[in-house]
């Protein structure tokens, strides 16, 4: 599906993901966890479609169960003892905490899958090109070199196969030796190639003033609006965090603040923050349909 949020300015994308990832990592309140998990799943499915559904069921569900089981097995804190296994108490609190931390971990991983789809490497380099010019140049070069070297490694490997030195035959040690041979040939090729690249860069004026970036993003009216909304929502959530709306105590017993009107307000702000890209997509779709039906 077309994603409207991906077409926004990289600053908006990056602010959104930084906020959502940090909040998901550090808020252990069940309401916040639930909102974060649900929103991350919806957005991942919007971005990646069937691939995301498969990923969530095949990898995330087992991981959720695994992480949920690790905690009660090693953490014996908590007052409500359910059973004893090998003289070790299994407590209700540690099971609940295990589930909560599993949901946290899984939602962070799903958020990162959305991040990978939206924040492409050229957006990252566009954002950080001015702050860390040398490092972002290294990044963009490595990102280019990796596929190039992989292709070259395949060429070398095919040539080696002709003289019976492929990695696919022989025992483990022979295979490793042949692999090293391929790598060694690749290194020679890559280094010569690299120095030529560097000389070419220098003669074309690398490091001089007034150079522009390859990708060009415009910070438009919509980005201004979105960034302001993001700022307001982040402020609301942070204010709620300072007022202890998101705090929960798991050990030695579970203690949670009762939900008030104020906490509902904070929950709503967090929900709107997490669902911002999906909301934007729905709004775009709706506008498009309305304009289309007017014709």
């Amino acid at each position: 599906m077309r994603d409207a949020f991906s077409r926004c300015h990289p600053v908006v994308n990056f602010t959104y993901f930084t906020a959502v990832l940090l909040f998901s990592m550090f808020f252990m309140h069940p309401v916040f966890l639930g909102i974060s998990l649900a929103a991350s799943m919806v957005y991942a499915i919007w971005l990646n479609g069937g691939r995301a559904i498969r990923f969530q069921f095949l990898y995330m569900l087992p991981m959720l169960l695994l992480v949920a089981l690790i905690n009660p097995a090693f953490n014996h804190e908590g007052m409500t003892i359910l059973v004893y296994v090998n003289d070790n108490p299994i407590t209700l609190e540690s099971i609940v905490y295990g589930v909560a931390s599993a949901v946290m971990f899984v939602s962070v991983v799903i958020w990162f899958s959305c991040y990978n789809a939206v924040m492409t490497s050229d957006k990252f380099i566009y954002l950080f090109g001015r702050v860390i010019p040398a490092l972002s140049l290294i990044l963009s070069m490595v990102l280019r070199f990796v596929p190039k070297f992989k292709a070259q490694a395949r060429v070398i490997s095919n040539a080696q196969k002709c003289i019976g030195r492929d990695v696919s035959n022989g025992n483990l040690w022979t295979r490793a030796r042949n692999g090293v041979k391929i790598l060694s040939i690749l290194v020679t090729w890559a280094l010569e190639n690299a120095i030529e690249t560097a000389d070419s860069m220098r003669s074309r004026g690398y490091g001089l003033k007034g150079r522009t970036s390859f990708s060009h993003y415009r910070f438009g009216q919509r980005d201004k609006l979105l960034l302001t909304t993001l700022g307001l929502l982040i402020f609301c959530v942070l204010a709620g965090a300072l007022l202890q709306e998101n705090s929960i105590q798991y050990f030695p017993y579970i203690k949670i603040n009762a939900a008030t009107a104020r906490s509902v307000l904070v929950y709503t702000a967090y929900f709107l923050l997490c669902m911002l890209p999906v909301g934007l997509n729905i709004w775009e779709e709706w506008t498009w349909r309305r304009l289309y039906s007017k014709l």
């Binding site: 860390i132 490092l135 490595v142 992989k150 490997s157 090293v180 790598l183 560097a198 220098r202 705090s247």
Partner: protein, 249 residues
């Protein structure tokens, strides 16, 4: 390259200054903040921030001294080789040459280059395998192994011969990489630090770690000599050589 060797002493001082400010002021402040403000997530946040602080001075110093095109390209090539090197061993599952190549980079081009190659290859390989909460930990582990290799060789405490290097590589992979990455996964998933929990992570990751150790050892044993010869040749042929290392040795 010329400017770099002239300001060599000063560069180290500046990095030491930033690093000591971070270690003496910012890290304790973070720990105090974490203990008093956060409850259950304190281990993860504190450890993550400490890792970021440790990496910052390297990046800052590198940006400050406005590196030359040739230096940038060599670092990029080494990092890309570390990432792409997996293709050469695609028939051997879990065979990762990253640590070995990072160590070779550190030995040939010094600690700083070793750190950058390590951190960049950790970051970039996750563009292909997926970014996650583990990215900073991997960047830090690869980087610090490259840095250590460079510093130890420059100080003369580690020989450039292939057997000592391979043993160093195997130990670094097991203790530094395995040690820190497993600690990171413990902090990511559980709230309280327990020795049994840590032990469980080490035990369950041990087979994977062992494969990683074996691949680092094998690659260093087979590749370190020819690859270091190649890097030295490039250094001499294109004048990347600095007068500094000879004095230091």
């Amino acid at each position: 390259m010329q400017a770099k060797s002239k300001s060599g002493g000063k560069r180290l001082n500046k990095r030491t200054l930033v690093a000591s400010a971070l270690i003496l002021l910012v890290i304790p402040a973070t720990i105090v903040f974490g203990i008093f403000v956060l409850n259950d997530r304190k281990y993860y946040l504190i450890s993550l921030l400490i890792i970021v602080y440790t990496m910052l001075p390297f990046f800052m110093v590198f940006e400050k001294r406005k590196p030359q095109a040739r230096e940038i390209v060599v670092i990029s090539v080494l990092a890309a080789l570390a990432v792409a090197g997996r293709v050469a061993f695609f028939m051997l599952p879990q065979f990762k040459p990253v640590v070995a190549l990072v160590i070779i980079a550190g030995v040939c081009f010094g600690g700083e280059a070793g750190f950058l190659v390590g951190a960049v290859s950790g970051f970039v390989s996750n563009f292909f395998f997926g970014q996650g909460p583990w990215t900073p930990w991997q960047m830090f582990c690869f980087g610090i192994i490259g840095f250590l290799a460079g510093v130890l060789v420059q100080k003369g405490w580690l020989s450039r011969n292939r057997v000592p290097l391979s043993i160093f590589g195997a130990l670094a992979t097991l203790l530094i990489y395995g040690g820190i990455i497993n600690l990171g996964s413990l902090f990511m998933t559980t709230p309280h630090f327990t020795w049994q929990g840590l032990l469980a992570f080490y035990v369950s990751a041990f087979p994977m770690d062992l494969v990683h150790v074996a691949s680092t050892f094998a690659v260093l044993l087979l590749l370190s000599k020819p690859m270091m010869e190649k890097l030295e040749r490039i250094k001499i042929k294109y004048g990347l050589i600095e007068p500094e290392p000879e004095q230091a040795l």
